[in-house]
Symmetry: D2
Subunit: 144 residues, 4 copies
């Protein structure tokens, strides 16, 4: 495993926050949000972070840079339910020339529900690894 981050449960450790509201379609027959639905929440939060930094993902893709998910880890601490308003904290770490990692904290009204880590790599239009754009390694990215 390349997972290098250990996500904190202290919201102060997450410089960027994105809010989502859970959908009924994302619940399951246990009456809670299905565990697979968390990954699109993390992705939506990443997309919001890139937009916030002035480098929207659509711009990256039009420049021939795609970001692939190399690894994903989620720890489900307490369930999410339908219509919960979830605050996702994001923190960047473990940045290399071709990859970076994100730690996530999911809270509902300050109660921790889950933590997560994703590992990302940059590829070109042919699917080959390539360097991340320069701003990825600068403080603007790692300290949003």
């Amino acid at each position: 495993m390349r997972l290098a981050l250990t996500p904190s449960t202290d919201s102060g450790d997450y410089p960027f926050t994105h809010r989502v509201r859970t959908r009924f379609a994302e619940t399951d027959a246990m009456g809670i949000v299905h565990h697979a639905a968390y990954l699109p929440y993390l992705e939506e939060a990443r997309v919001a972070l890139l937009r916030h930094l002035g480098h929207p993902y659509t711009e990256l893709r039009s420049e021939g840079v795609d970001l692939v998910v190399l690894e994903a880890f989620v720890r489900y601490r307490r369930p999410l339910h339908f219509d919960d308003v979830v605050d996702l904290g994001l923190a960047v770490g473990a940045v290399t020339r071709t990859s970076f990692q994100l730690a996530y904290l999911l809270r509902v009204e300050d109660e921790v529900r889950a933590t997560a880590v994703t590992v990302h790599g940059a590829i070109d239009a042919d699917g080959r690894p390539r360097r991340l754009p320069g701003w990825f390694t600068g403080p603007q990215f790692t300290r949003p």
Copy 2:
């Protein structure tokens, strides 16, 4: 609306059948399969029909033909539950030079659960309408 087919509830009217088993991830907090999960079932059955006819969808796509969904209609008659084994009957109709329609019957152990209709059009790699391949208008397609 272009919907031209009225799906029968008689399984004898459906020349091709495809079987799926519902997933837990597809259920919702009402304890039944979520209504949005039916559309991927229909799609999986269409893909199976094309494979059965000797023209798999991947081959169509590599030839520059994409099939887009123009309209979709589902009537939910009785719910599906987790782990149900669903037999999807398919019948082709309303074939034109650039479009066709499919009627569907979803049953579990001969009990009707849903009926559906989808309307499809052929487009080229640039997203423009194009003629369907010739075999689409022949009896092999309309009578699988």
Copy 3:
């Protein structure tokens, strides 16, 4: 079919609007939003409408009223793409003592992308049809 509404393409016909942003997870290998992803958009907009009317869906469910989807129809007019901001217009119609219908208009920057209709019925905790709460048949609901 019970579908009784013909959704207009004039945004002025839709008293309530809800906005969603498409997710990357909802796109498919054609590079557009997959047709099955529209149904959760419609559902999210319905939930927002009920909240706006002061009768959130979670409250309905805790009172033992569930709303089931009896029929769904979508007409895909122009594709949605990743990161599109979609304005969903909603209009209520065909209200009976146990069911109602909703018409939807999906636009991106005033360009029509899709129209849709869903048919809903009220059931009790045992899955049997029951009367809709009184406010469903009043002008507050049908004219949000």
Copy 4:
């Protein structure tokens, strides 16, 4: 993290195998299967394993035992594409009185595509942790 298993890339280490075919609905605009779609594959394989062992998940649920996902980890090694036929190998490990873990190997025609680990706990109808049924700790489960 509780993750205790390191999934091998040798198919001989996985006593049980389940096959799925990827759906078009599961692809994304990169032309590959979206990373969130893997979790339902793992779940479908777990359900198939329980059925194979003579203790289907529906039976467990009717006995008041629910299995919750406490953690999930996926390493995406090479992408999956539409219509790929995926063989999922499963191996049980780290069994305690209230939890167990599963390691997964995803292959397409003997080429490794992904590895994964999930951590599961047993809960009762009120959501409280409870002991796993006895057969979970026996060799039948850990050596399917």
